[in-house]
Symmetry: C2
Subunit: 328 residues, 2 copies
């Protein structure tokens, strides 16, 4: 295993210290337990808290700041954070208007955020993100939360900033989740530092279609395809899921898993753009880059969000975080 | 070779089309010959043009926009752009105050930008970036231009925006270059699409210290070290080169080569921060992320820039590009 680490046990804590220093104008990092919170807090607004296993950076800590999250709780790599992190984060950022937890649909995350919500004194609500259409809708543990999370967190962050109350934030979040579908493809596995070897094996001419962001095996392991074929395949599943009417306004997000060059991500964007323009969609906004990563995995995902005017306005609203910044 | 491509011959053009669409609020892309230019142009300011081989994204196209570059000329992967690209770009963005070319020190780039400057009708000047201290100062072809280029382009972009004339831009650019030193380390090679196999071979327990951004062999091939040892090694070379006085204000840039997770880059930042704080430096600004990449290479570089008040103010000035954005 080749990584920049001193030991797997100190990787996260040291990295968080570096993150805090590199973005000291935007965030603070608290330890024991670990959480990241925005520096400029605001009373009277709903506090948005997310979190999950580390290894997906910039998600979630890179989304803490004005117009997006109030706090993020990082677990160890690919490991859920614990309720004490969420409770401490809530205590630090609760502005008196309740706490909204944004949770990717993984068993550990769901359980621990539920425990935190139960133990919390004040009002709270949860938005569950389950945008990965590579699993069927009726899968026993539900669908995974993947790159659509960035879109949910951006739109909800703007809404909370503009004074939406807790119930309105929750309703909006669930609407964004329903309007959002994602699917990914891996060219390589990733390597978890504490494990020291690739999470799964792929042959030199194989790809994994429908892969999860922890390297979960997907819908099919297949032979390497051209970029156009790959885009056609995964865009097809998203199209089938959302079935958008012609003329529908959408946001198209191409997300890199960590080791795929921007040169390739923009090529994938172009191919996906052509795919959906041929189907009559009105691609109004885009996001291309590494946002929901899977350590050093080569691969990418497509996410499509059907936009209404409210969502579009909230997407465009100012944001000032380590990883997304505009209008500020 | 596993990449998202249809064919090596169409990768760049298709990717540029995607880049143009994904960032249509900031840039335009012209073809035959290829160049990227900012959408909102301005007369009366020095026009900044850079360029080089593709495969280093977001450098340079991702730095085109308000407060940074006026145009970027992308060559094929790791291949110099040609003078016709630079001349067309100059014709499109010349605002009447002359053209400044920002050129990384590689033989092909230097030659082609020189030819363009000679063929250009109006006044022009060139700033050569050669920040890579892994080669000795008296190396026959000089030192390579690497991740310090981002800092040069940001500071010069702000200066041009504020009305610095051509001579002042050139003098400032050369001052920033002299104040900037970088060194990188590769954990893996990269794979050029047209080549189809890794540029160089590294054993499973080897790293390349002093690697160039095209995978040029560096100062030494050595055994895998801990992150602290690697940082100590490359920071030591930079420290020796710049020999900053205690209390010196600096900008510390940790640049990922493409396949290294942000989790590791922030760990490297923390270790480098500690290294230089122990040596009394005043780390006033930071930049951590993938800015000058080398396709899918795992690795990173450190860059240190000694800051004066003028440089600091220009660094902080508003910028609105695909890859760097603040204050706008």
């Amino acid at each position: 295993m080749k990584k920049f680490i001193d030991s797997p046990g100190t990787l996260l804590d040291t990295s968080l210290q570096g993150f805090a220093k590199a973005h000291a104008d935007i965030v603070e990092v608290r330890t024991q337990p670990n959480f990241v919170l925005r520096k400029q807090r605001k009373t009277g607004k709903v506090a948005l808290i997310s979190g999950g296993g580390s290894g997906h950076e910039p998600l979630h800590a890179g989304f803490v700041g004005y117009g997006m999250l109030d706090a993020a709780c990082p677990g160890q790599v690919f490991t859920s954070p614990t309720p004490d992190q969420m409770l401490e984060a809530a205590a630090a950022v609760d502005g008196g208007a309740g706490v909204l937890f944004i949770v990717k649909n993984y068993a550990g995350d769901v359980m621990n955020f539920e425990m935190a919500a139960e133990m919390l004194d004040g009002p709270s609500a949860t938005v569950l993100v389950d945008d990965d259409v590579s699993l069927p809708k009726d899968h026993p543990i539900g669908r995974r939360g993947v790159a659509g999370t960035t879109i949910v967190e951006k739109i909800l962050g703007a809404a909370a900033e503009q004074g939406y109350d807790l119930a309105a934030c929750k309703a909006l979040g669930e609407r964004v989740v329903r309007a959002t579908a994602s699917m990914g493809v891996a060219l390589t596995s990733c390597t978890v530092p504490a494990l020291g070897h690739p999470t799964f094996e792929l042959g030199a001419d194989e790809i994994e279609i429908g892969v999860g962001i922890h390297g979960e095996r997907g819908r099919e392991t297949g032979k390497l395809l051209s970029a156009s074929e790959i885009v056609g395949r995964i865009a097809g599943h998203i199209q089938q899921e959302l079935n958008p009417p012609s003329g529908q306004a959408v946001l198209l997000h191409v997300n890199g898993f960590g080791a795929t060059p921007l040169l390739e991500l923009h090529l994938v964007y172009e191919l996906a753009w052509q795919y959906w323009r041929e189907r009559g969609l009105n691609i109004q906004r885009s996001l291309v880059g590494n946002f929901t990563t899977s350590l050093d995995m080569a691969g990418c995902s497509l996410t499509l969000s059907l936009l209404d005017d409210e969502m579009l306005g909230l997407w465009d609203a100012p944001v000032n975080t380590a990883a997304l910044r505009w209008g500020c």
